[in-house]
């Protein structure tokens, strides 16, 4: 009853049915399901490393016991195949035994233990030691297909990051471990880049096995049945472990240790209870002992270039001189113009609905800012100044008018018409923001150095030591003690967080800097210190700066010119000194009076 067969059909009906193609073997998956799996696999092969959702079926084994790998093997296999099934490198692990029985019993294929003899190798947590060729397929069982899961819990966010190739968060995780411990500290499943495009979870194979996926002759298919995902590494595809340019990736290898059974010193080994080491790939070990292993071929697969070398770890080997950093040209204006940032007729309306009437947050807002100039936008809360800023950054969509930056297509492009991904990319080089709330600009669970690394990595920095140096330089400049560089920002005081946020905003030498109430929420004395720092930093740079604040004293301290906003419109504009000394509009007079009191 639990397995479909045609044996129980009445004779008349049975006569109408075609001959049983399964020859009495139990059916675990119908043909529709197999086609669904094959479609997913083909999509995965076409886009290496891309995670393909597919209609994963329930299998007679638990989700988590290799139901994904099983579906792939059943969908691509047939009676003519010889199938090798291993768990942790061993044929006799419970998982391998179960799956082998099922595969052989339903496909009618031959079981083999010999890697060289297998047409399909289904494996949990290992790539076989022996060479796999172009007529062989490796099927890896996957317990977690999303490589970003450890740094990003939101499925939406993960999707966006894959689409935009935005993997900075993963790099920051590696940076953090290097800064804290001196080594990357990844066990199995070290994240890899496939074909230079997609970050991929290689399933929990040891680091020893990762080079075996790189430009291999065989096809690797990875399948996560529980999460309904399949992905693939086609033959000859680049698979690079994620690491910084100047931090060597390390495989598990202990100098001087050899297998207690076969004597080889160059395979992935596991420790026994007695403290001996033995090959994790049991068949390879047996073949070495029998003198049947192709040791030449195995030798070429040994990842010696990744053997650990403590002398090359980040704490032992600090290059005296970093890659020479050429800061981008500062203060780019549109050709023939003197502005770096120009806002024209910016408007933003929040449509009304039940319980909220239509709000005109900004209307006909126009200004421009030159390099090395700071413009103030002042108004009370609700005046529209923050909306204007969010429209410039791209946090607020659906604005009308135009925002142009001299460094973006020579000022011709209207940023408001760019796609959200394009606008996010501008934030890496061109446009930086300091938010009132440091939690918006920083990851409070990451160190001060790690937060700056985040900005640098997003902008393409790949040298650990360069990143360290640049982060230290910036933190020093904003007067964060270097001894706290590796402390989690969440431990910092409000003023110190704001200094880290400023350092992060300046890290990639942006063209335009937006400061949103940068000192609001800080104690008066702390705020004064941050204001002094900002004034110095702005004087040192060719930046176009917009300062948004409700506080005239902040605007007075930082800016040359200012516009006054009320109910979404600019009501007065002029030199900050003059506005402060001789306000014309009654609303400006109120603001000045408030600042003086």
């Amino acid at each position: 009853m639990t397995l479909q067969s045609q044996a129980g059909q009445p004779a008349a009906l049975a006569a109408l049915l075609p001959a049983d193609p399964h020859e009495g073997r139990p059916v675990v998956m119908d043909e529709q399901a197999k086609r669904e799996v094959r479609r997913g696999v083909l999509a995965g092969v076409c886009v290496p490393g891309y995670i393909v959702p597919f209609g994963s079926r329930e299998m007679p084994v638990a989700r988590g016991w290799g139901s994904g790998g099983l579906q792939v093997t059943l969908a691509i296999g047939g009676p003519e195949d010889s199938v090798k099934v291993i768990d942790q490198g061993d044929e006799e692990g419970v998982n391998a035994v179960n799956l082998r029985r099922l595969i052989v019993g339903t496909l009618g294929s031959r079981a083999t233990a010999d890697t060289a003899d297998a047409s399909i190798v289904q494996s949990r947590h290992r790539v076989p030691e022996e060479y796999l060729g172009e007529d062989q397929v490796l099927v890896l069982q996957v317990p977690q297909s999303e490589p970003l899961r450890q740094v990003e819990k939101s499925v939406y966010e993960c999707k966006r990051r894959h689409a935009e190739g935005d993997y900075a968060k993963m790099w920051v995780a590696l940076y953090e471990r290097l800064a804290l411990t001196g080594v990357m500290g990844t066990g199995t499943g070290h994240p890899v880049m496939v074909h230079g495009r997609y970050l991929m979870a290689p399933s929990p194979i040891p680091r020893w096995d990762i080079p075996r996926l790189h430009r291999s002759d065989h096809l690797t298919i990875l399948c996560h049945g529980r999460d309904k995902k399949v992905y693939a590494v086609p033959p000859h595809t680049a698979v690079d472990p994620l690491t910084f340019d100047d931090v060597p990736f390390e495989v598990e290898h202990i100098e001087g240790v050899a297998c207690a059974k076969c004597g080889t010193a160059e395979s992935f080994m596991v420790e026994t209870r007695t403290g001996e080491f033995i090959c994790s790939d049991v068949q390879f070990c047996l073949k070495v002992r029998a003198g049947l292993a192709d040791l030449d071929r195995h030798d070429r697969l040994v990842p010696r270039h990744y053997y650990p070398d403590p002398a090359r770890r980040v704490r032992s080997f600090v290059p005296a001189v970093g890659t020479r950093r050429v800061p981008g040209p500062a203060g780019i204006t549109a050709p023939g113009e003197d502005w770096s940032l120009k806002v024209e007729d910016l408007g933003k309306v929040y449509p009304g609905s039940r319980g909220s009437s239509e709000v005109v947050a900004a209307r006909e807002v126009s200004f421009d800012v030159a390099p090395a100039e700071a413009l103030g936008v002042i108004g009370e809360s609700g005046s529209g100044k923050s909306t204007v800023m969010r429209c410039i950054i791209g946090d607020e969509l659906g604005a009308t008018g135009a925002v142009r930056i001299g460094a973006v297509e020579e000022g011709r492009a209207n940023l408001l018409e760019l796609s959200p991904p394009a606008r996010r990319r501008l934030r890496t080089h061109v446009l930086s923001v300091v938010h009132q709330d440091p939690a918006l600009g920083l990851d409070l669970g990451v160190s001060a150095g790690g937060n700056i690394a985040d900005a640098l990595i997003a902008a393409g920095w790949r040298s650990y030591h360069d990143i360290r140096r640049r982060a230290a330089e910036l933190l020093d400049r904003v007067e964060v003690p270097l001894g706290r560089m590796d402390d989690v920002v969440g431990q910092f005081s409000g003023g110190m967080r704001q200094r880290v946020q400023i350092a992060k905003a300046l890290a990639t030498d942006p063209q335009v800097l937006l400061l949103d109430e940068p000192t609001t929420g800080l104690d008066a004395s702390v705020a004064a210190g941050v204001l002094d720092l900002l004034r110095e930093l702005l004087a040192e740079r060719e930046l176009a700066v917009v300062v948004v604040s409700h506080d005239f004293s902040v605007i007075d301290a930082l800016t040359d010119r200012a516009v006054v906003m009320r109910q979404g419109r600019i009501v007065e504009a002029g030199l900050t000194d003059q506005l402060f000394a001789d306000p014309h509009h009654p609303y400006t007079q109120q603001l000045v009076a408030a600042a003086r009191s």
Binding site: F54, M59, Q88, R126, G187, F317, S356
Partner: protein, 392 residues
Amino acid sequence: MYAGTNKGGTEAIVAAERLVLDRRARLDSGLTADAVVESFPLAIDRVMGEGGLWDPDTAAAAFRQANGDLSEAVHLIRAHRSTLPRVAFSDPIDPREMELLRRVVSTQRRPDGPILLGETVDYTARILHDGPDLPLPVVEERDGPPPEHPADGPFRRYRDYLADRGVLVDRSGAEDEEPFDIQMVAPRLPAHRSAWLSAMAQADTGALITIWYQSVLGPDGYAAEAVTLGEVRHGRLPVRVRHPHTGEPVEIGRVRVSETEAVAHLGELRGEDPTTYDVGYAMAFGHNERKVIAAASLDVSLVRFKGSETGRRLEQIVLHTTDGLAASGFLEHLKLPHYVTFQSGLDAAAAARAEARAELDRLLADVTGAAAEPVAEPGPDPVAEPVEGATA
């Protein structure tokens, strides 16, 4: 000659399987599949609901084979379902056609159509007892002849009642799209309503109740607490498919389902019209009231919060974490060997420890002044040399 594998693992597994089979062989004579269906109807219904397959006999066989472990029985049913090709798709089912076995309306004192309690222990004192007698005496026995049973009549769905009064919010989309088949296709976010309704139909009952309850008492408020049950129904519905030759709908059988309509008064969220109500819906195979009540409440929330951060979180929870087979399967997999992972982790830990020791040595050397060498290597710019392998 190079020999294959030792067979120790296989022998142990077969022996373990044998223990289970022997035990069942002793019991099977006394416990037929029919007896299981008769004795444990609610367990069978739960297996069919979470298994997503209507077949009481197969569900009973699974329940018996699983030694009463519901998760295991659901697993057997789902694995069995994978062997069945889709031969046809039924016409859409209209719940208004339901042959009622139970109908509870908590929003109205006198609703349209019958209130039918059916076979339930909802109103019974939970006292362990034996025998067919009521566990508590009935205090107010009615005098005179028993009341006449009301005639069977059509009932109205609560949503129709709200629509007639003009207070049902209009959620009808521009087009009537094909339902998303969660069995055949992997869920994707953002999800269609049909995707989460079918995901919840076969979700783990406990998981749905927990998510709903967490939103009442937990740190994250997803579901609206102020949800009333428009209706809870249990009954039989005809299933019709199109005849391959005539194209006419033909009834091929009846399935028992549970349904709930959960009513929420709108206006709490921005943009909602406080003069209207929304109705959440859920249906599952068998008598599975707890499941459909939780699911219908979550459905209202999923619709109301759609597009917001809260809605995105809830969609991820419902579509990615409520399948009992996936959750318990992943839990079961922890029992598999993990020594390659563990070994690799040990290696990483050893490297970190070596680094910590080296760091300590360097600090000691600094303190004692024994080694005043600079950390940086003098000589040509070392970064200019390619780091072999690391940037392949």
